[in-house]
């Protein structure tokens, strides 16, 4: 065994380790979360395009953070009420999700395709934590990993109170949809 081979072997192993560290996490800070409230008097929707998320491909652990003030509404007044009266975003500036892909074995991040993923975790909104199971679709295309999901959120569950006077303007249950395009972390 020549010394050159040994150096090569060492570098190769070290490289593998570093590679593995860098490439086992997927990250985005431009994910989109949209929610729609359908009520008798009006439909309201809001979009946040600055959502951050990270997935550990090895463990299936997944995290999401959304800044409440980054939800954009068509009407400025609605956005102000959303932050001021309902979400109290000065007190609870973010909503977050801490979960895990439970069927990680079914997902091959290296092979192009669509994979159904079940994500189980804790959703924190308005300072209140609730367990949430989310059926997500993970798409791998040309090395690019993206994820989409939609699920309902019951407003009452998160201690968000809607005054009686606007009861017909705001739905009891809003539909949340999520679109994330992940990139490998390169550090």
């Amino acid at each position: 065994m020549g010394i050159n081979l040994k150096i090569f072997f060492t570098l190769f192993l070290t490289g593998m380790c570093l590679q593995a560290m860098a490439q086992d996490k997927l990250f985005t800070r431009t994910g989109t979360i949209k929610f729609v409230s359908e009520a008798p008097l009006e439909n309201i929707e809001a979009t946040n395009r600055q959502v951050a998320s990270i997935i550990d491909k090895k463990t299936g652990e997944m995290r999401v953070i959304a800044t409440i003030k980054s939800f954009y509404f068509e009407r400025a007044a609605m956005q102000e009420h959303f932050n001021e009266k309902y979400m109290e975003s000065d007190k609870y500036p973010t909503a977050s999700f801490t979960g895990r892909i439970t069927n990680l074995q079914d997902i091959n991040f290296l092979k192009d395709g669509k994979y159904d993923a079940t994500v189980l975790g804790d959703l924190t909104i308005h300072g209140v934590i609730h367990q949430q199971i989310v059926k997500a679709t993970i798409t791998v295309a040309g090395g690019q990993v993206s994820a989409t999901a939609s699920f309902p959120v019951v407003v009452q569950d998160y201690q968000i109170t809607v005054p009686r006077i606007v009861r017909d303007n705001i739905a009891r249950q809003v539909e949340v949809s999520v679109v994330m395009k992940y990139e490998l972390i390169n550090k």
């Binding site: 800070r29 090895k58 954009y72 102000e80 801490t98 006077i165």
Partner: protein
């Protein structure tokens, strides 16, 4: 081949391998969240204070709030007669003055507006510019500051048409600085130094330039209801030939979806600055109190998501 060198190499490889595993072993669940927080938290981000007041008026006077860019606000103000007018006048409800107004957010920090009051058939136009925005985070600003300017045009027929009258005599100007701070979620305070210029005053004893200091507050009672108050102190010996009083008002704001209802009592009857600040004739101690309300409705004419714009 020296065995010692080989052993050295192997141990080095093992060490590097072990070191590379350490971060993964110590990486508890929260580390992933911390990583995400570190990556997204931007300490330079400025967090502007919003909703210092529910709407663009505290009671009758302007607040530091402006309609967002592209938003048109329609405002109707009503002031009834005096409560002490008694049952014959239905406690003032038989006589009403009103002002209809539109104001439009040209920019988030710039508003222009027009209005017409039945009181003295007055037209008014105004501009409002937000000079400072209260904020925390990357830039800390303790207060919001707005410059307000308006011109009022009295369109009553000339009292003495036979003499030479000038159009300029119909005009009055107001300049105000609105200085406000949202102290906490519930309480906001505002100071309003005011300067009013009347082109025409009744006699030479009366000042053309009038100075006043206003103060206002709002306190939240529930998420949708606030108590508001304002007071304008008129410096003495400025308005002489007419007996005038400081304007004092107290009211509540009730916010529903797209409307804000403001109900209040005040010794002032008119709804534009030059009138309620310098020409209030109601004496509170005498029971000269007017019931009134404002209704505002906002219409979003155009709006753009700032995050969407960033992409281009």
């Amino acid at each position: 081949m020296n065995k010692r060198i080989l052993a050295k190499w192997i141990s080095l490889v093992c060490l590097i391998g072990a070191l590379s595993i350490i971060p993964q072993l110590t990486q508890a669940q929260d580390d992933l969240m911390n990583m995400l927080q570190d990556a997204t938290e931007d300490s330079t981000e400025i967090n502007y204070t919003t909703a210092t007041f529910k709407t663009t008026r505290i009671v009758t006077g302007h607040s530091i709030e402006l309609p967002a860019a592209g938003v048109l606000q329609f405002l109707i103000g009503h002031r009834f007669g005096r409560l002490n007018a008694g049952p014959y006048e239905f406690f003032g409800l038989d006589q009403a003055t009103m002002r209809l107004g539109f104001e439009y957010g040209v920019l988030d920090r710039l508003t222009v507006g027009v209005g017409r009051s039945t009181f003295e058939k007055t037209f008014d136009g105004f501009g409002k510019y937000k000079l400072l925005r209260q904020s925390t985070g990357g830039r800390k600003m303790p207060v919001s500051l707005v410059y307000f300017t308006s011109v009022a045009l009295n369109s009553l027929r000339w009292a003495e048409p036979e003499r030479e009258n000038f159009f300029s005599s119909r005009l009055s100007y107001t300049h105000q600085l609105l200085l406000a701070r949202k102290i906490n979620d519930g309480l906001s305070l505002q100071l309003t130094p005011t300067y009013v210029h009347h082109n025409l005053v009744p006699t030479t004893l009366d000042k053309n330039d009038i100075y006043a200091m206003g103060a206002g507050f709002r306190q939240k009672i529930t998420k949708s209801i606030t108590i508001n108050g304002e007071y304008f102190y008129l410096l003495p010996d400025q308005v002489v030939t007419k007996e005038v009083f400081n304007s004092a008002s107290l009211g509540i704001d009730i916010e529903t979806g797209g409307h804000v209802f403001q109900l209040h009592v005040s010794n002032s009857r008119a709804m534009i600055e030059k009138m309620f600040i310098t020409e209030t004739t109601g004496d509170i101690t005498n029971g000269d109190i007017h019931f009134g309300f404002n209704i505002s409705r906002v219409f979003t004419l155009k709006r753009k998501d700032p995050a969407e714009k960033k992409k281009w």
